[in-house]
């Protein structure tokens, strides 16, 4: 009995697909298109995020030191900064180094510094922040703590710039979630519509099977398998398409806009991601089936 059912399932699914090849192709291409859109979006989003995080490693917090700071104060301050979980690296810039830098930055105009008797620039500690620091609050807490240490004259960490950066990251994250959710919704909608219509065109057969004693469950399983099959084929197609599209897009971008070098990368295309795509395709097929089956039951 089990064997008969198994054989029936495979054969029914195969027959359904073969007999409704057009509808199946339509379904597969619709899922594939949705996945391609989704894939391109994911690539774009991940790349943009990566780029922004690369930029961010340039941010630093500068701790200006009082001229009167003692060696032991400096050491303990330095130790304090280094032991903070938000800080990646601490660099000490002496008064002399500060003046050298300033001179360099003035370039030709540095001649006007010639007349100076004493060095007015303060020494400083430059703190590199860690990538995992995700919001403005953490940075400001750190600044407050450091500001309380003895020997600290002033803190500078581009408050405005950082605040914008964090807002932008948050915006990007929320927009990303929103767009992903929306796309997902649209895809399930379209897939379930396609499966609904394919059910619709087989309504007569379904009615007949019920009339000769088949249960709804028995009738439904081959359609579920069909949904899974569609999702599977569609995801493989879309992986290929996304890869090809992205490959050509990236080569073209690199040639046309050399300054984007660091931004565009295909590294993202890992086996795990491929598995995710296939899983997503199958999930869409199954969801589409469930939505349309509910609809069929109701009518």
């Amino acid at each position: 009995m089990k064997m008969t059912y198994f054989y029936y399932l495979l054969r029914s699914t195969y027959q359904n697909i073969r007999q409704h090849l057009v509808i199946n192709l339509i379904s597969i291409f619709t899922i594939a298109f949705s996945l391609v859109l989704f894939g391109l979006y994911s690539f774009g989003y991940l790349n943009l995020k990566k780029t922004l995080e690369d930029w961010r490693t340039d941010f630093q917090m500068i701790v200006y030191l009082e001229d009167s700071i003692s060696k032991s104060q400096l050491n303990s301050l330095r130790h304090f900064c280094e032991s903070s979980p938000a800080v990646a690296r601490v660099v000490h810039v002496s008064k002399k180094q500060a003046m050298q830098r300033f001179r360099k930055s003035l370039g030709k105009d540095s001649s006007l510094l010639r007349g100076l008797k004493e060095n007015p620039l303060p020494a400083s500690l430059e703190l590199q922040l860690k990538n995992k620091v995700k919001d403005m609050q953490a940075v400001e807490n750190l600044a407050k703590q450091i500001g309380k240490q003895p020997g600290v004259e002033e803190l500078q960490y581009g408050q405005q710039w950082l605040r914008h950066f964090f807002s932008l990251m948050k915006l990007l994250h929320i927009a990303g979630l929103g767009v992903t959710g929306f796309l997902f919704f649209v895809t399930v909608f379209i897939v379930s519509n396609t499966i609904k219509l394919s059910f619709y065109s087989r309504r007569d057969a379904i009615d007949i099977m019920e009339l000769v004693g088949a249960t709804r469950f028995y009738i439904a399983v081959p359609y579920l398998l069909e949904g899974i099959f569609q999702g599977l084929v569609a995801s493989l197609l879309s992986v290929g398409a996304v890869y090809a599209l992205y490959y050509y897009l990236v080569s073209w971008l690199r040639q046309s806009f050399p300054f984007l070098q660091g931004m565009v990368s295909l590294a993202f295309f890992t086996p795990g991601m491929l598995g995710g795509f296939v899983a997503l395709g199958v999930l869409l097929g199954v969801l589409g089936f469930l939505v349309s089956f509910k609809w069929i039951r109701g009518s």
């Binding site: 009995m1 064997m3 059912y5 029936y8 027959q15 057969a205 007949i208 000769v212 004693g213 709804r216």
Partner: protein, 233 residues
């Protein structure tokens, strides 16, 4: 009144049915068929023959009244229970109801697949029953590649293949010549002789005359039993 004592029985009590509120299709229809009964159901076009048969295999629900199949009241059955009852009833539909994208073989095999019959057994039995109705050569054709009479014979084969306890045949010979009609009626007779209850809805007066069986006549929604075929003209 256990179901063992009347194992292949149809009992109908005070059945009412109407599709539109104003027109009653069946009015107070009651009858009993014991195991091994053979009855013709006749009456003019639109009399309610198909409706009565559809009520018996639970494709319609009655407005009121009870239908007992093998002692079980199917009017209150769930979908799943109805599916199981239908497996013991072979139905020949007036409009055949074949699945166009399945071959003749697969259309007939469907009934056996549902009950989980082993593959070998299915092949043997489908072939046997197709041979009985004389279309064993068209095994791998699709219904739309068959003539009207050939399609009707596939529908008959499907109703027979599962050795059902009850056979309900709705105008099963409307597209068949008299020779094949006689063969089909002989098949029904044989099955009936083995204890199957058979109900055949038909317009064909020649049938009623040639096979002298019990006749139910529907008229104005009322059922009259045992009216001789000759008076029906």
């Amino acid at each position: 009144m256990s179901s063992k004592k009347w194992p292949r029985m149809i009992r109908v009590f005070h059945l009412y049915k109407s599709y539109l509120p104003t027109v009653a299709v069946l009015q107070d229809v009651s009858f009993t068929l014991e195991a091994g009964d053979f009855v013709f159901l006749t009456g003019p076009s639109g009399a309610g023959k198909t409706t009565l048969l559809r009520l018996l295999f639970a494709a319609e629900r009655p407005k009121s009244g009870q239908i007992l199949i093998n002692g079980k009241n199917i009017t209150s059955f769930s979908r799943r229970q109805i599916a199981h009852v239908r497996r013991s009833i072979g139905v020949v539909f007036q409009d055949f109801k074949l699945i166009n994208y399945r071959t003749v073989f697969d259309n007939v095999a469907l009934v056996l697949e549902i009950t989980g019959t082993p593959r070998n057994e299915i092949k043997k039995r489908v072939w046997k029953v197709l041979k009985m109705v004389g279309i064993e050569q068209k095994l791998y054709r699709y219904p739309l590649e068959l003539s009207g009479g050939e399609q009707q014979r596939v529908a008959i084969a499907r109703a027979l293949v599962n050795d059902p306890q009850i056979i309900l045949a709705d105008e099963p010979t409307g597209n068949l010549d008299f020779e094949i009609t006689t063969e089909i009626m002989n098949i029904f007779n044989n099955v009936n002789a083995q204890g199957t209850t058979v109900m055949v809805a038909t317009h064909n007066q020649l049938l009623l005359q040639k096979f002298k069986r019990k006749v139910f006549t529907l008229h104005n929604g009322m059922l009259q039993e045992g009216v001789p075929a000759q008076e029906n003209q």
